[in-house]
């Protein structure tokens, strides 16, 4: 087997991974950095982020305001020391991207423009039309080409995180093109593999978003935190789940039900006027909006579309000029994928799974539970999103904490002792991955995958209850059993075998899904994006705590609780809508 010795391994080459690799290269130019990704960097899912990234810029804004919006948006489950660190770093990182060439949209005087986003009290979101993630990703990828110490392993799939004695040693990878196994060894490993939205059927995520990094770390002994908090984005195309950015509403679009009624006023987000105003109606947070849709559906006030029930996202009053200038990508997508001209007709939308608030538990330095292991971006739970992430906090999270992770990893690699992986450990890892390839029994990949997605939609949806969650947990346990018994592959060759990779991804997904379902079962309260029909109010006495899922071999994960760090904002009721000043949109 080919073995590559290096200093820092970054797994995942989306926004967080690229930022980590650049940070490590700048911090320690003599170090060798291996950037490993199962797709070319510019195919990573960061590319699909649309709306923008938050950073305090305007005169009327402040770090405290960003802090308060984030903590209340997260229903007080955020670690406040980390949020404090985060909000102070955001603008600097976005400015750095500007100096690297990111084409942020501008005001007439040449300064960067900002827009409103849900749950944010000030126009704080930096944007590049509605291709913000695309431009950030390409800027980071192209900038990374300046650093000779970054060696890319494009289309290498990580199958196992190798750790011994509580410290990471390396990763085992498949070179996808040839199917050969490659061992990468380093004292520091950064996981930046993104979320796990593909465990659900209707989602906004790319096919690659299969929770690989969470699964890798989980199996190696690191804990997953707050996995029950899954974000439904309220405005997606029914059927495909293709995202219609929150920036639509940030620019002034409205949501109406089948009667043309702005139903959000019935769910604690009104009154309608004066409109627009911050943190009210359509500028409320995503959890509230998706939950309001669920109720509208129950009341029979949604439209029927071929892709399922929907409400209308209406942009028409913004006018063709503004729509084409600020929202070109979604206008194109609505036309192509829904056959709707957003200038002339409202777009049918519904909630779809968008983001995993939870992830590999890390501290503010992005350090995870094993020595030498770091995580950043959606695959991590650094503590800033709590029970509900605010839109535009994650695009800036990937650069703020991508950088921290890269720097921490480089520092660790400079001082850590280097040990190889033991032969027996490596051989068993190798055997596990090759066994899947030789399997000629069992069920088809698509059967198991689709059953998992249905189980998650049915039991771990926007609203949950004990019976549904127990059913989902039981189903996932049996799916894991069936997966272990064997996935029957049509393709048993080595070169570019995507069916084989799919079977490995499904293994990660099943374990991540279990962490979500069991976390949700144990959290007997409603908070942020986690709603229990049988435990309706928030319960700070019992559950103002993080859930921590630990891998337990072939069985269900073990769920523990950990305290939340509260520094300056005591939990109170989350408040949206109400009185407020009319906002002037720029």
């Amino acid at each position: 087997m080919q073995t590559v010795e290096t200093d820092v391994i970054v797994v995942g080459a989306g926004g967080a991974g690229l930022r980590a690799a650049i940070a490590a290269a700048e911090r320690a130019p003599q170090m060798r950095i291996a950037l490993v990704s199962k797709v070319l960097p510019m195919r990573s899912h960061t590319v699909a982020a649309e709306g923008g990234a938050a950073g305090v810029t305007r005169r009327e804004d402040s770090f405290d305001a960003h802090f308060n919006d984030t903590v209340s948006g997260g229903d007080w489950l955020c670690d406040q020391d980390v949020v404090d660190f985060f909000v102070r770093r955001c603008t600097g990182e976005l400015e750095q991207l500007e100096r690297w060439g990111c084409p942020w949209s501008r005001q007439a005087d040449g300064h960067v423009n900002t827009r409103f986003f849900g749950g944010m009290s000030v126009q704080r979101t930096w944007f590049a039309a509605d291709r913000s993630g695309f431009h950030m990703l390409h800027t980071l990828f192209q900038t990374s080409l300046k650093y000779p110490s970054i060696r890319r392993f494009d289309e290498y799939f990580c199958t196992e995180l190798l750790a011994e004695d509580g410290a990471v040693r390396g990763v085992l990878c498949i070179c996808i093109a040839t199917g050969e196994l490659v061992l990468l060894q380093a004292p520091s490993i950064v996981l930046a593999t993104g979320g796990a939205g593909r465990v659900f059927r209707q989602n906004t995520n790319a096919g690659t978003v299969t929770g690989d990094g969470m699964g890798l770390a989980f199996r190696a002994g690191a804990a997953l935190r707050d996995m029950e908090f899954v974000q439904w984005h309220p405005t997606c195309l029914p059927g495909t789940g293709i995202l219609m950015t929150e920036a639509c509403r940030g620019e002034g679009a409205i949501l109406v039900n089948k009667d043309g009624y702005r139903y959000l006023q019935d769910y604690g987000l009104g009154p309608v006027d004066p409109w627009p105003r911050a943190k009210a109606m359509e500028l409320g947070p995503r959890d509230r909006l998706s939950q309001a849709f669920w109720h509208e559906r129950r009341k029979g006030r949604t439209l029927d579309t071929p892709g399922g029930p929907a409400v209308h996202l209406d942009l028409r009053h913004l006018g063709a000029k503004k729509i084409h200038e600020r929202l070109p990508l979604i206008t194109e997508a609505a036309k192509t994928f829904a056959g709707v001209d957003a200038v002339k007709e409202p777009i049918p939308v519904c909630p779809a799974v968008h983001y995993t608030m939870g992830g590999v538990a890390t501290n503010v330095d992005c350090k995870a539970g094993l020595s030498g292991l770091y995580a950043a971006g959606e695959c991590a739970s650094v503590g800033i999103h709590g029970a509900n992430r605010l839109g535009s906090n994650s695009l800036v999270e990937i650069v703020v904490f991508g950088r921290v992770a890269g720097e921490s990893a480089a520092e660790h690699a400079g001082s850590a002792s280097r040990k190889g992986i033991s032969g027996a450990h490596l051989q068993s890892a190798e055997r596990r991955v090759l066994e899947m390839l030789s399997n000629d029994r069992g069920e088809k990949l698509a059967t198991l995958r689709d059953e998992m997605r249905d189980a998650m939609e049915d039991g771990v949806g926007i609203y949950r209850d004990d019976a549904g969650l127990r059913a989902a947990c039981a189903k996932l346990a049996s799916l894991r059993e069936r997966h272990r018994a064997g996935v029957r592959l049509d393709d048993r060759s080595r070169a570019f075998n995507t069916e084989w990779l799919g079977a490995i991804e499904l293994g990660f997904m099943l374990e991540v899904a279990q962490a979500m379902a069991h976390g949700a079962l144990e959290r007997r309260e409603s908070r942020g994006a986690h709603r229990r029909l049988d435990f309706e109010p928030r319960d700070d006495a019992g559950f103002l705590r993080h859930t921590l899922a630990r891998h337990a071999g072939e069985g269900a994960p073990r769920i523990d609780f950990r305290p939340v760090t509260i520094t300056k904002s005591a939990p109170r009721e989350r408040h949206y809508g109400g009185e407020g000043k009319k906002a002037v949109l720029t």
Binding site: V39, L40, M42, R43, S44, H45, V47, A48, G92, E95, E98, R99, W100, G101, P103, R106, A108, D109, G110, H111, V112, R131, F134, H135, H138, Q142, T143, L145, K146, D154, A177, A206, G207, T208, G239, T240, I242, L243, P306, G307, L329, E332, A333, T336, F337, K444, L445, A446, L489, D490, D491, S493, R494, A495, F496, N497, T498, E499
Partner: protein, 248 residues
């Protein structure tokens, strides 16, 4: 309404096949199904060994460029209904080596991308500012060219690249122009040698098909061809003032 369409896919496995071949599948489809969804149906239900790249399925990641009935297109935003009752023939993008089935080897493009120094060679921001200032009109000078998602359809459309693989090609030259045209950049002098070489802009004969197939309206032919003027001016500048110091 579900109908059935015949999808022919090019198959090639490096371990077992000497030559590529076509294999046909009968696929049930609805009006909203894309070619990509047709391929996914085949992979899930008919033949798990069919190999193709895909990711975002919303025309932004650049993974699923393919030849669809001989034309370079995106699998995710090309719909099967367009071809019914005829057949759909899906092949890997022209002019690239095949790794397997519909997956091409993109390493040549990546090397070319790197050769054009596709990053800002930085100027210092104005005093008192943490960022550069750039008026919306200044952005217009390059923004269109920054929208390239590296789908590589333009390379499949370019016969010159097919005839001469050393040609830097549309997307890489477009990106080069994107940075040269950016008011914040100071790297023009470093990039002009790439523009000027035989395999730079002069490898283009303005067939123009690259711009025709570009799904993101980037117009690579324009980026390349306006640099023929720049290259000519650059030549005369060096001819007249051979010792002039490079200003960027």
């Amino acid at each position: 309404m579900t109908r059935t369409i015949r999808i022919e896919c090019l198959r090639y496995h490096p371990e077992t096949d000497a030559e590529p071949r076509l294999q046909a599948y009968e696929v049930p489809f609805t009006d909203d199904m894309s070619v990509l969804q047709g391929l996914q149906y085949i992979k899930d239900h008919l033949d798990g060994s069919l190999t193709f790249r895909w990711s975002c399925r919303m025309a932004i990641c650049g993974s699923c460029g393919q030849m669809v009935n001989g034309v370079p297109r995106l699998g995710c935003e090309t719909f099967l209904r367009e071809f019914w009752p005829g057949t759909v023939r899906v092949e890997p993008l022209e002019h690239f080596p095949i790794v397997r089935d519909l997956a091409i080897d993109q390493s040549d493009f990546l090397a070319k991308l790197e050769s054009v120094k596709p990053y800002l060679v930085q100027k210092a921001p104005p005093a008192g500012e943490n960022t550069n200032l750039q008026a919306p009109e200044e952005m217009q000078a390059y923004y269109r060219y920054s929208k390239c998602i590296n789908y590589l359809l333009c390379y499949a459309a370019c016969p010159q690249y097919g005839l001469n693989p050393a040609f830097t090609g549309p997307a890489a030259l477009t990106l080069l122009h994107r940075y040269n045209a950016d008011s914040r950049d100071a790297g023009r002098a470093q990039r002009m040698p790439v523009v000027n070489q035989e395999d730079g802009v002069w490898g283009c004969t303005l067939v123009g098909y690259c711009s025709e197939v570009c799904p993101k309206d980037v117009d690579p032919a324009r980026a390349v061809n306006q640099n023929k003027v720049n290259s000519t001016l650059d030549y005369f500048k060096h001819f007249l003032f051979p010792r002039a110091k490079e200003k960027s």
